[in-house]
Symmetry: none
Subunit: 419 residues, 2 copies
């Protein structure tokens, strides 16, 4: 069957929406959100439900050594690379109904749509649920996809930590999702549909985003050291106030970031002062800074600005400082041909698109290190996620899923062989 | 015995110094300081040690409903008002060896000196250790002296809060220092020897300060509410960052205070952000502000500036805010006759004095609301306190204690009756 014989619309938006709401019943929270932390009983229930739906859709469900679930619809070409499509079913503690889940269930909807249209593909289409994307219970996050691409070693409990003392591979056994280390899925391309988690698409009034890549992320730890002094007796000119220094650094660096690039994100998310006593001028402050940009050079420049500003606090505030890197994840650039496939699919459907970077990390970031990968975004109301009030309009879910399905189909119809 | 028969020097400076160093062993910190937060096990140990020393000196030790400890050396006149002398044994988290402790142990040294000289007084001399002066674990601070003067009600847990969830009166029971609500000590006058905690005496090269009064102190709690957002996906313009708002408030209010008066002190000593996660824009920040000045009108104006600035953050940062008064202590003016007694005692001893205000609050501020009260200061090296490196020269400790003892003796020799 050729691409020209494909029906104009493949997928059933209301069916996908119903699945999303059914899935949201597992770990449901009072304000409409979900709590399905990875490898808890709620996660196991979600996995079982998903596996059942996949089998009903005729897929073979397999699990690898990281608990990643692969539901495969076979293709005609023996041994061809799979078109992989999916995301994750785990959520934040006060998570929403769409983050991750949408990408997994839209993959399933794609398979159902291919079944309904009676379409055979050259390549297998495999829907994937990656384990512990969120990184709430187990650190680092993106665990399953990191294991899949070889960045983590199966069975190495020491490499994965949990604040609650849980052990990742032990919990895979407990939940019945410890799979085969021998399972190898050759990947022709990986597609992930996800909510944007930012405001860009909503503000532009556009339903589908073609994601160019994922911003690099750098975490810096800043420690500022002044002097503990009595709040009542120490004149302003005698103070070496670590909090005032922190305040100055934060505001100055916000300005510096805006001057470097409007796309540079800087966040002071973690702040502590010591001794944290009302009547003592703080002698110490510690700050964690999250920097994001799609260009490493800009992250380098911003880090340089921060280091210079911290050094300058000695003169301006009498406060010394150190800067250390806690994390450094390079920017990811998604496959240009796959971006074109997505954009063309949307164009054929008459859906306007916007190219944009991803501010958040996704499993696609890991996949991009070993295979062609791409992402599709749909709008998040108010740009809000990691929050029970997370919301995407049903119409946008429908549009996003249809573009995904068309792109996956286009890719899966390509002749087997290296792509 | 008349005042003229009193020996020229009463007290034993080296003995007092040895006591100070022994006491500093309880809750000792690596850099020479102390951590004895109120009603912790360390505080209990300090109290037990002090009580033992007092009993060895022949005193009766009694405890009131706020855990304040009163060690009394009787006088000849039945029912006469006591000459009360003391301070506090609790410290800041990174506190020094002198703040508070000096006044308590110099009171004890005064009693020992009277014993050694075989002096009987008309009035009882009572050494006091006030509970929770520092206000680190429990707010408001000066708790014990506030209870003593009737500004707090015994047993009212709701009036005293603790960040760690501790309950003040419960902790008095736990440490064995829940005393009698019936205990009433009539006060003829209250003397408190304390380190200056500021640079004035050291810079003037003078060993003893006669304190004229205490600056007014106002504590404000500011809560700023923005919105938790993803650090990677939320553009600067969409953020309602409670920490950035806090930083702006702190710097703006530091400038505003400098414009109002060079003597106005403003400190942001306690700062927390929530959720305190590196990759989340903080949706909430709480700040405690300490304001000090000797004029109530200026404190009012500064509070007005803060309230206006917090209200303005809604427009400038999209962050809402509330301001609440946690504490409001009016400026205090010490008893003129007691200041004269101190100055005369120093003059007889050939010790130069300087009159100065206190930047810090002290239990004497509370006592002054119900009885004549006065304070003596000795120099703090570099003006530093609330810091492990807090230091007062042994010679200054000796001079201050001697002036204290002579003043207390002079006062205690006065005939009983209203003073």
């Amino acid at each position: 069957m050729s691409a020209s014989a494909v029906p104009a619309r493949l997928t059933d938006g209301p069916r996908l929406w119903a699945d999303l709401m059914t899935m949201a019943g597992i770990g449901a929270l009072p304000a409409g959100g979900c709590c399905r932390l990875s490898l808890t009983d709620e996660d196991r229930q979600a996995r079982d439900l998903f596996a059942g739906w996949c089998r009903e859709a005729g897929c073979t469900v397999r699990v690898d050594a990281f608990g990643n679930m692969f539901a495969t619809r076979p293709g005609r070409a023996a041994g061809a690379g799979h078109v992989l499509v999916g995301s994750h079913l785990d959520t934040q503690p006060h998570g929403g109904r769409f983050d991750g889940v949408l990408g997994v269930l839209a993959g399933l909807e794609t398979v159902r749509a291919l079944n309904a249209a009676g379409i055979e593909t050259e390549r297998p289409v495999t829907v994937v649920n990656w384990t512990n994307e969120e990184g709430v219970r187990f650190q680092p996050g993106l665990t399953g996809s990191a294991g899949f691409v070889g960045a983590l070693t199966a069975g190495d409990e020491a490499a994965i930590t949990a604040a609650d003392g849980a052990r990742f591979f032990e919990d895979l056994h407990r939940t019945g999702y410890a799979g085969s280390a021998a399972l190898q899925i050759p990947v022709a391309g990986y597609y992930e549909l996800h909510i944007e988690q930012g405001p860009v698409l909503e503000q532009a009034g556009i339903a589908v985003g073609v994601v160019e890549g994922v911003q690099g992320v750098r975490w810096l730890a800043v420690t500022l050291t002044g002097e503990d002094r009595h709040a009542g007796t120490t004149p302003a000119g005698e103070r070496r106030d670590a909090f005032m220094a922190a305040a100055r650094l934060a505001l100055d660096m916000r300005t510096a970031a805006a001057l470097l690039s409007p796309d540079l994100r800087i966040t002071f998310g973690r702040v502590t002062v010591e001794p944290n006593s009302t009547n003592t001028v703080p002698g110490r402050a510690t700050l964690a800074i999250d920097l994001r940009h799609s260009q490493t050079a800009l992250l380098d420049r911003m880090e340089g600005e921060i280091r210079a500003a911290v050094a300058g606090l000695a003169g301006s505030e009498g406060v010394g400082g150190t800067v250390a890197r806690l994390m450094d994840v390079a920017p990811v650039h998604f496959d240009a041909r796959m971006q074109a496939i997505i954009a063309s699919a949307a164009e054929r459907l008459g859906i306007r698109t916007l190219r944009l970077p991803s501010g958040a990390m996704h499993d696609a970031s890991n996949l991009a290190t070993v295979a062609p990968a791409a992402m599709i975004f749909v709008p998040s109301r108010g740009g809000i996620s990691h929050n029970e009030s997370e919301w995407t309009e049903p119409q946008h879910v429908t549009e996003g899923c249809e573009v995904l399905a068309q792109a996956v189909l286009h890719h899966a119809l390509q002749p087997a062989g290296p792509w």
